[in-house]
Symmetry: C2
Subunit: 321 residues, 2 copies
């Protein structure tokens, strides 16, 4: 059942002993929503814990500084930024069928919860949480504000992406009143990199190849190079964006060998070209500007297949190029 | 004479035939201020041109799409985002002593103009221009809005830096109402890179050296390597930020050889350390988090001198490190 802001606020005020569920491989938005809501509920005298199938990532340390799980029997299950109960992950799967309230912003939400507050036009779940807390008249403190700000900033690429809303800006202005450490948070979220990450980016940049009048960029990471170059697999998150950073590139591709001869492809568009359409030709799918597919074969085969799918979208005849 | 918003609006409404001066090596804020103000003045029936000592950079093409210089004898000289008349550059130096109005946000403004609207707390000159246009009751269109948005976005690193104001967010929300191409502009401003720039970044990353318990990062570009690696000097803008991107690095240094044996140093702080204080030891200066100096000698001498200045600030004994 879809409920509105006021009903959500009333529900939260009327209940207690909350388990707040975040999605697996937690990002800034699910973490910010979880801890922002948890802090707020505790502030008005409720018992609440944040749960995640994975460990809380160290990079969001400022969200859970001083956080200690409370002991209580859970009565109310709330999921935040979780579009599908499958995304709760193995550690929280047991709660999947018992979610009392889901607060989210994904249009793909599978409506698995008993009550739903899903605003698909919101930039982030944290934008929705902010509105819920305003409706509840909770006074925000710096910690809550930093949680919500981080969710909005990370989901919008720091107000850079198309999903940036007017409200994202307006809420950020309001959160600045709470003394958030804006510069420090953004530096940690967007600028600082580990040595391993820098190595991966160096590798991707130096191995990028350009095709089809330089309108298509491709970089490949095989199991061999991964081992040889000592590139840690977990540092590849978000690397697909690097494929469209060169000016003039319209379609970018990162090819990753998952098992010998089995490749996972991430495709990005920096133009009007719908890469989900290209990926569908290979049994994949996704969004207009970010899609993916899987192709088996040799690396050369995979590249040629991809180019044969991309060339027509660029209006280029592969065999004359 | 410092004047206020209303006086500025009245002055602009009462005058005509504007030359709007931008600073040399134009950035997004001076360009956005210049073209935003020019479009607005033309919209209310005034004659106005934007002038710059350098060519208008191609990357800001959307600001001057359809812009044609008008023919008129200048009567009113306005400088935007120009802190010092020296910054007008050789092409506009002739106007330096005749600036009727300066709209700016630099605390270092030398107050060279007859009338001054300088808000040092503003994130960007475009923030001040927005307020002036609001005071003048000019209805913003998409082009004006994109000019002002770009100035605010570029001067704040897309709302990432410490100079980001509440007003920067609130104004951006208002500018979104004018249908700005937010995603496209931010992609062009922040994500797309030329092949030459990627090459420079690759070079800087691969030549970065770490000292003092990895708390200090240094990269050097000598005249020899510049020539050998074919690195274009004009692609080094803003490269200093790369020196503090590795986690744990507190002070970052980029050393550039300008002439044989003469080095220009850019220093960045990613901590509480005041790098302007360090640079002052070498006859330089700047801001707490971004400073510079010049040192002559061999590259090894220069590095050692710098390390001897940086080590105490990090609380490290250079000779025991």
């Amino acid at each position: 059942m879809q409920i509105n802001l006021k009903e959500t606020a009333d529900f939260l005020k009327a209940h207690d002993n909350f388990y707040i569920l975040t999605h697996q491989s937690p990002d800034g938005d699910t973490m910010g929503s979880g801890f922002g809501l948890c802090c707020a509920l505790r502030k008005i005298g409720k018992k609440a814990n944040v749960l995640c199938s994975d460990n809380f990532p160290k990079r969001y340390h400022f969200m859970y500084e001083g956080y200690v799980p409370q002991k209580f029997a859970p009565e109310t299950i709330v999921a935040v930024d979780v579009a599908d109960k499958k995304l709760l992950g193995p550690g929280l799967a047991q709660y999947g069928d018992y979610v009392d309230l889901c607060i989210d912003h994904h249009i793909s939400n599978t409506l698995y919860a008993e009550r739903l507050l899903v605003y698909p036009d919101a930039a982030a779940a944290c934008e929705v949480i902010f509105r819920v807390l305003a409706e509840m008249d909770v006074t925000l403190d710096r910690q809550i504000a930093e949680c919500l700000y981080t969710g909005i900033a990370t989901d919008t690429g720091c107000f850079k992406y198309a999903n940036t809303t007017k409200l994202a800006h307006i809420i950020s202005a309001k959160l600045m009143d709470c003394g958030i450490r804006l510069e420090q948070i953004n530096r940690e979220m967007f600028d600082i990199k580990s040595k391993a990450r820098l190595k991966v980016e160096q590798y991707i940049n130096s191995s990028m190849e350009y095709y089809l009048d330089d309108k298509c960029a491709m970089a490949a990471v095989t199991l061999d190079t991964l081992a040889e170059a000592g590139l840690p697999a977990e540092e590849f998150e978000g690397i697909a964006g690097m494929s469209v950073q060169l000016e003039g590139v319209k379609v970018g591709v990162i090819i990753k060998e998952k098992e010998a001869g089995k490749f996972k492809i991430s495709m990005r568009s920096a133009s009007d070209i719908d890469v989900s359409e290209i990926c569908r030709k290979f049994g994949g799918g996704g969004h207009v500007k970010a899609a993916g597919c899987a192709i088996d074969g040799t690396l050369d085969d995979v590249k040629l297949k991809l180019l044969s799918g991309i060339a027509p979208a660029l209006g280029i005849d592969l065999w004359l190029a």
